[in-house]
Symmetry: C2
């Protein structure tokens, strides 16, 4: 970017670091910040700093936490015998919207992707094994994404967790509820057919 004074230039560059933000959007965000009052700017800056400072990793599930152990892992009302394994910490919040789930989570921190140098040692798989070894686990639900990398990760986990003798399941594939068969892709339809259930 050229033509802006230095502090605006820096602000535009800062916004360009956000995902999917190009030059025009960054300029738009920067100019909206310039309309902030000093207090608003301070609160915005503090939110960014606060997140970097206060958001920690739960020592049990590797998800986001503001303490040593997250609220879910320290909730004794939940079923600690069922662990739902997700790729990213934000996936926990998505799963939590399913009110019916009362088990706990384990965050891998990504998915296997040899091309991106994401090998098993980069994921929190050891931590998951430790939890299983500690005992009391009845079921592991693999909720990695329905992508090639997510599937690879689920297959890998299913293989290395097999010796522990716990039940391992995978989220069902199929047509999204409220979706239209006309717009479903072939692979999803095929999976929906394979997973058909008797009525």
């Amino acid at each position: 970017m050229k033509g802006y004074i230095a502090p605006i230039e820096r602000l535009i560059d800062a916004f360009r670091r956000l995902p999917g933000v190009g030059a025009k959007t960054a300029v738009r965000y920067a100019f909206s910040v310039l309309k902030f009052s000093e207090e608003e700017a301070a609160s915005f800056a503090d939110a960014v700093l606060g997140a970097a400072r206060d958001v920690r990793t739960c020592s049990v599930c590797c998800g986001f936490s503001d303490g040593d152990v997250c609220d879910i892992c320290s909730d004794l009302d939940r079923d600690h015998g069922i662990i739902c394994v997700v790729e990213e910490a934000k996936d926990v919040t998505v799963m939590e919207k399913v009110r019916g789930y009362r088990g706990v989570y384990h965050v891998l921190g990504g998915s296997l992707s040899p091309l991106d140098n994401m090998t098993p040692d980069k994921l929190h798989i050891k931590e998951l094994e430790e939890r299983i070894k500690a005992g009391g686990i009845k079921e592991i639900i693999l909720a990695t994404n329905p992508t090639p990398n997510g599937d690879t990760t689920a297959a890998y986990l299913a293989r290395i967790l097999e010796p522990y003798g716990v039940k391992i399941s995978r989220l069902a594939y199929g047509i999204p509820v409220g979706g239209d068969i006309e717009y479903a892709d072939e692979v999803t339809l095929m999976r929906a057919l394979e997973g058909r259930r008797d009525l």
Copy 2:
């Protein structure tokens, strides 16, 4: 938003203050910031604070400046007899990309819009009149946006600046260069016809 720990919640709320950012985009930005290192987060926060602290209004043209008078207004190589009137400070940068323009600017700080309570006294019109009264102005180019509000503002300015006897012009309307007549809207085409030039 529900389900996130407090510092993440605050970050999401901060991003939602940006224009056009809804819940999903704010979450996406927030999670990308959570992947920043502490230094990256500090530099991002500092860019926001720095912009609020260091970006000032030029005492001559009312545009952005890091000092009392902006670089354009203090540039003696420019023609201070031609003033291009724009709505917003950011429009100056857009006009500056037109390398051919060597005059100076005046930023109104918006456009007239009675419904939004944007009346003439809210715009930097007094400041523009002062500059004209100070003398030496040959031409005022009205470069407000080609919108109803921008047109109203231009018409208003043309009327109140008329007594000063300086030449007043308006940016030409027409088909954008590189555009296709097929996709031009009717109003633009009509204006392009009205403004046609002999070859």
